[in-house]
Amino acid sequence: MILIPQVFQRGLNEVTKEYKTITEIAGPLIFLEKTEPVSYNELVNITLPDGTTKRGQVLDTSHDKVVVQVFEGTGGLNRQCGVRFTGETIKLPVSKDMLGRILSGSGEPLDGGPRIIPEDRLDINGAAINPFSRMPPKDFIQTGISTIDGTNTLVRGQKLPIFSGSGLPHNEIALQIARQAKVPGSEEDFAVVFAAMGITNEEAQYFMQDFERTGALERAVVFLNLANDPAVERLITPRMALTAAEYLAYEHDMHVLVILTDITNYCEALRQMGAAREEVPGRRGYPGYMYTDLASLYERAGVIKGRKGSVTQFSILSMPGDDITHPIPDLSGYITEGQIVISRELHRKGIYPPINVLPSLSRLMNSGIGEGRTREDHKAVSDQMYAAYAEGKDLRGLVAIVGKDALSDRDKKLLEFADMFEDRFVRQGVDEDRDIETTLAIAWDLLAELPESLLVRVDNKFIEKYHPAHKK
């Protein structure tokens, strides 16, 4: 018996005509002739001579020629294969029962459990949220990590990726956030959607074990496309994950945190497909539409007026060669609402989490902090620490040339501040969950080490209220 994947079941029952008119196979693409009109982006089933099936999608269609991209790769395909067009675009069967399930990159159960009985079937490409329907995100999410909560605050509905590099502990940080993230003082429904794109089996195991250890799996939907799964499947994995997330958020009022890892693998797959289609390449061989394509993923985060749920994205992106100007981090940075940058230098110093706050940024921070959300002095404290740390870090370069003795007293203080900042504010334990009060208290302890005249970005009234020297 041929097992027909559930995702594609309905279409197959409805359409029966099979074509054996493949004229050309190139990379992941097949070209067909003499078909009835076939619609753009339609899903395709291909039957190999040995009876196995593969799936694909229409990329280009005309009266003379149809181009299909095959998700599982074209290995074993020949001109005798039969091709059926299903008449519909890719849809994901969704249900609240997806929580706790582990699915493949194309939505098939991998955990040996039963099939998901769909409450609905949704187009995985989603539709753009009308900007007029969006609510500007402003609910503070406490991740328990000082460098995020204190200086690069995450809010509900934001898309904030981690820019990392190979060999850096981005997975640990992502997991720590998945474990600890909460909106202080609220008991709302929370879920995690995790999509692995081209990560190794070992990494996937690491994630799964942590989810099981902490019991997070019950509140999670996992989509796994591993390194040895077909690259072209990677193009649909994140879309499936986001469709599931939107369903849980907007139909079941849940606050969904989506973790996509690794965006770089996704972009590699995109480039591979572009090359197979013989498209005109853009920078470094990536397709010219990569910005639009990435936007179609990242923009699926947000809060909608009148609906309770939200989709927050926390993707992982490894920068090739730690180069932030590489097209993948670059285009991402133009779409996402900031970025958390992991630093190799801090990692070498043995500091966890090695988040370099200087190039990191949360664009929505200002709307999520302050009186009534976190604390009135939050912004001032954050700005002051940024400025002092930036200056202190610069001075390290100077010290290397002229020695510490040549520095003025003011500069020496700043230099010490930079060291203390890394050691006390940045450094924390893998399981250390600092609430925002603790984070701000550490910040004030550090600022208290500086002369008060240097605290130009903090209002006097905050100094009187929160500075350890004035606080009663």
């Binding site: 009109p37 675009t89 187009d123 009308n130 969006r134 920078r283 936007a295 779409i335 040549a406």
Partner: protein, 589 residues
Amino acid sequence: MVTKGEIYRISGPVVTVQGINTSMYDVVKVGNEGLMGEVIGIEKDKSIVQVYEETAGIKPGEPVENTGLPLSVELGPGLIESIYDGIQRPLPILKDKMGDFIERGVTADGLDHEKLWEFKPVVKAGDKVSGGVVIGTVQETPNVEHRVMVPPNVSGTVDEIKSGEFTVLDTVCTLTDGKEIQMMQKWPVRMPRPVNKKLTPNVPLITGQRILDGLFPVAKGGTAAIPGPFGSGKTVTQQQLAKWSDTEIVVYIGCGERGNEMADVLTEFPELEDPKTGRPLMERTVLIANTSNMPVAAREASVYTGITIAEYYRDMGYDVSLMADSTSRWAEAMREISSRLEEMPGEEGYPAYLSARLSEFYERAGRVESLAGLGGSITIIGAVSPPGGDFSEPVTQNTLRIVKVFWALDAKLAQRRHFPSINWLNSYSLYTKGLTDWYNENVSPDWVKLRDNAMDLLQQESELQDIVQLVGSDALPPDQQLTLEITRLIREIFLQQNAFHPVDTFCPMDRQFKLMDTIQKFGDKAHAALDSGVMINDIIKLESKDELSKVRFDDDFDGALKVVLDKMDKEFDSLKSDTYSSGVSEGAE
């Protein structure tokens, strides 16, 4: 002429149709759902169409219909306060029609065709009118008077003119030759609206942003570009300009940018007050939001939709400013469509006509005399998002060849939380000379000198910083250390500005002048003190100069400034007496 044909091929947003006669830029309805598209190429019997909506599920063989009209916008009362997508569909109406997500195949008129407007005629029967002449007015919002004009290609003698409440489609004026004029006119977006002549810009656009007004001003009717890497504050700067520019109408185009950012603009603008009129800023604003995940062809059109609306208000005699955030996304939309057409690519895959399209767009800016002799202007401020922050890429370079003002954003400054993070050494304005007269008359005859002096000091600072990097600041001679101190004040007090602070977010010209003047006064006094033998460290320790920084945040600016100035005088006096007394005591020994 055959107006019906069928789809031959579909490749993303590019659809090839056959069996239909089309002209370039005709709008066609594609497929069973009638998706809106525009003819962008003709090859033998086939026409190539870019479709403004998602094309998944469309089949070859589906019908295509030609409307025979180019892509046009509806111009008339009701534009202000609207929020459109790239092809002038009002987003609130799309929401009513299809819910929170943008589906396809829905059409919506740019203007409300039912709403009644109170039309007051300003011409009478027998008057001769021609294109651009104002025939009546409508109070569109409490602070915008909409001037209903004769369409550019119409002229004649007024036979009858009405007064009272009408919809935009009702005829309000009839000419003796039987021509009827309505409040609404349609205009093809890719064609600039005609004017009598273009004039040289000679009045600055006051933005309330110190570094822009003070150092790198743009003139009303001028063009400016803000290029910068991500996270350097392009969007915040653009939004500040949209909020505080002293133009009568603002058109803000969010072209291929973030949805949450647009949501922010949509909620914030109605709440903010125009400093001049005290009315909500939204009452002078037209928003166009085509976020990055909305169809790419509509993104390409959004810039033209925006500039056409801007031209319409310019023709009424208004000063209009147009912010396009970001023109790089617009260029990328061109690139994407060009590559689907399999055109020969130019630099970095952009089409070879990139430069031509950019200059056509920026040339639609300018201070003009309208067809009816009214003076109006369009100022274009375009954000550019260079990949990797590299200004040598094609969009930045082609833009810089056209625009007169360059505000270079700098990621390094942003990382230090120096906002607005505009690099004062790389930026330039070619309008400063032409605006000198205006400054002399309206700010102060000293202003130009003050500004040039500040620029000169900042230039010196950058050279001194190179030395400081090597030997530390203590090794510099005292007068150079003083220069560093003065430039620090210029940087931290004048150039830095907090967009999120209720007072500091907008700084009028007179305050800018007073701040700069105070810094200059401090510099003069400090140099004098130094010459009289005061130690540099004693000068640097003075508190008044640092207190100047807080004056910016004070509601009572002048009062706070006076306190600082008085304190400064006292401090310098006491320095003098200290030197004097220590000199005396040395002499006594």
